[in-house]
Structure formats: C-alpha cells, structure tokens
Amino acid sequence: MDQASRDYGKGLARAFGGALLFALPLLMTMEMWSLGGFAIDRVRLLLFILASLPMLLGLSYYAGFEPTFRLRDELLDALAAFAVGFIVATLMLTVIGVLTPDLTLAEMVGKIAIAAVPAAVGALLAGKQFGTRDLQDTRERENAGFLGILFLMSVGAIFLAFNIAPTEEVMVISYLMSPGHAIALIAASLGVLHVFVYALGFRGEHRRRGAGRSVPTFLRYTLPGYAIALVISVYCLWTFGRLDGVALHEQATMAVVLGFPAALGAATARLVT
C-alpha cells in the first residue's frame, strides 16, 4: 500500500470516529428509531436525504477528510462520508438491538438513513478536526467568504437543531413557555449568537469589514445567522412532523425553542468545522 492510500485510510478511520462521536446522541434517542422507521412522512424523509447531499458536498469543501479543492475529490469525500455514516449507523443500531430481523427493509433503511446524515457530517468534521492541515490548505478554507460563512452557520444550526428536534421536549418546553418566555428566549438566542460572532469572530475573519464594530457585525452576521437558525428549526420540525396539526402560535414557539440550539450551532459552527 502506498503513502496516499495509507493517508486516506487514516483519514477514513478518523471519519469513523467522528461519525460515531457526533451521531451517538441521536442513535441513542428513542424518537429517532420510530421517526426514521415509520413516523416521518416518506416524502419528507426523501427530501431530507436529497437535501443532505449538497450539504455534505459543501461541507466536504470546507472540512473534508482530505485536503482537496477539486470538485471530483469533494464528491468522492462526500460519498465516502455518507458510506461511513451509513455503516456507523447500521452497526450501532444493530448492536443496541434496534435493527431486528422482523423489521421490513424499508423500516431498516429509514432508521439508518435518518441517522446516517448527521453521522456523515461528523465523519467530514472529524477529518478536519483531528487531521493535520498544511498551511496552504488552512488558508484556503479560512477565507470562506460571506456566503461560505452563512453556509457553515446553516450546517452548525442544522447539526444542533437536528439533535434536539426529534425529542418531544421541544413540544413540551413550548407548552411550558408563556409569550414572555418566548421573547426572552429570542433575545437570549440573539445575544448568544452575537457574543460568539462578535467576541470570538470566525476563524480567519480578522480582516473582515466591520470587524470590531458591534452594530455592523450584528446586522451582517447576527441577524442573518438567527434567520438561518429559525428557518432550519422550522425545517427540522416540519421534517419530523412536529408542526402537523399544531396551532400557529405553538408552531412559532416551537421554532423559537429549537431556534436557541440552532443559533448556538450557527454561532459555534466555525469552532467545530
């Protein structure tokens, strides 16, 4: 085996570790088994899988387990990450006794697929997180640009929101909260997002316009970041069928509840990726 293959093998091993680490909370969440198995509307599940592919591709560009910039390589990395996520989800769900022979094939694939996507995200992140980066590579990725940052914010938001959206707690919390609580949570979400974006900044964003000035940062990053967090929250809740048959004000409260972890995910996306 030559050096390139060996390096790739190491990256792949890290990817397996990352997939397990990132997807374990979801793999051990009871709602995920029933949601993936039968409770999610199949059209929504299909949309989620289809939407995850460009996301994995984009993430591969910023955090692939190989330092690459060529589209073909990003595609290969994204596909390999899906394979890793799928295999990790399959093995883990089998070991904990969720996948049993009496399930139909469609049920099994549903349970696996819904967890394979976050596991694939973990696989891609681990490649970068634990990997050794050469300088050229690092420079390339840190100049993510405005759209790149918004993309990474979305991935961060979807990652954290997706971990919490399947649980019933989102619904329960929204019932516990009064409108006053909801407004306070919106303020807290914006505050957390702003503090992360403003004080910590995004890696490699030292020279960005408006850096160090609070109001431009708020308008340029915090508000779009929170908008992304809310949209991602609504999307996750819709995918899991949590919004079906629920009154509009409850839907809004649930979006705000899930919007908090989503905002936190968006804010810390650059720390993780």
Partner: protein, 144 residues
C-alpha cells in the same frame, strides 16, 4: 503538498500494468460504496413514498401455538397487517368461549405493525384455550 501526494501512483491489490489512477483505489472504493448506499436509500424511500399502496391497515390475527405458562396458558399470536398503511397501537383481543361459562378475554397491544408485515405477541389465559373456542381479532389502531 496534497497535489503531489495525490499524483503518486496507487497500487491496487491486484497489480495492473495500465496507467496508475490519479486517486488511490481505496478512495474510489469508499466513494463507490457511498454512491451505492445513497442511490439504494433514495430509490427505496422514493418507491415507498410514491408507489405505496394507500389502502388502510387491515390486521389479521392468528394463533401460532398454545402452551402452558405457569398456572395458566399462553397463546402465541401473530398479527399481520395486510393493508397498505402502517398501524400503531394495535390492540389485539382473544376471546375464549367455554360452554356456558362467561367468556375469558385477554389483550395484547402492538406498538407498531408496518404495512405488509407481521409482529408477534402473546395472550395469557387461565383456562386451556384448547378446551374452548378461541377467537382472535384486532380491536383498533392509531395512525403513526
């Protein structure tokens, strides 16, 4: 640098004299597995989403075996959903008629029975079901 590493000739398990691929074989393999899984997953879920039989759940219950269980008896049952939609919370009731005595009933609930699938459970009776007339039926379900 990545690019020079990448161009190093890959040695596949079986040495081929042809032009060396620019990407290690393992990378193609891993991506190939990924492509297969992506396509298979999408096709399977799509076929379920768009070609599913929309008929309502129809649960048929039959006894698989009757055995003694402690002081009573166990009837192992199989609930098969032959309809096109999945059913959740399926309540199965067994009624045992024994001559003039009031019938003895036992219930079991099945969390989830997918369409065209079967799940197993058991009903406990105090009297031997083989001595009477046992009827089994599904009483209701909820949409998952």
């Amino acid at each position: 640098m990545a690019k020079t590493v990448r161009r190093a000739p890959a040695k596949p398990a079986k040495p081929t004299p042809a032009k060396p691929p620019p990407t290690p074989l393992v990378e193609w393999l891993a991506a190939g597995v990924g492509l297969f899984l992506v396509v298979a997953t999408i096709l399977l879920i799509a076929s379920e989403a768009f070609m599913a039989d929309p008929s309502p759940p129809q649960v048929e219950v039959r006894a698989l075996e009757i055995r003694s269980s402690g002081p009573g008896f166990l009837v192992v049952v199989e609930a098969r959903n032959v309809g096109g939609s999945p059913a959740a919370g399926v309540l199965v009731e067994g009624e045992l008629e024994r001559g003039d005595a009031p019938p003895e009933t036992a219930e079991a609930s099945f969390d989830f029975i997918p369409d065209h699938s079967a799940r197993r459970g058991g009903l406990f009776f105090e009297t031997d079901p083989r001595q009477g007339r046992l009827s089994l039926r599904a009483k209701g379900y909820s949409e998952p």
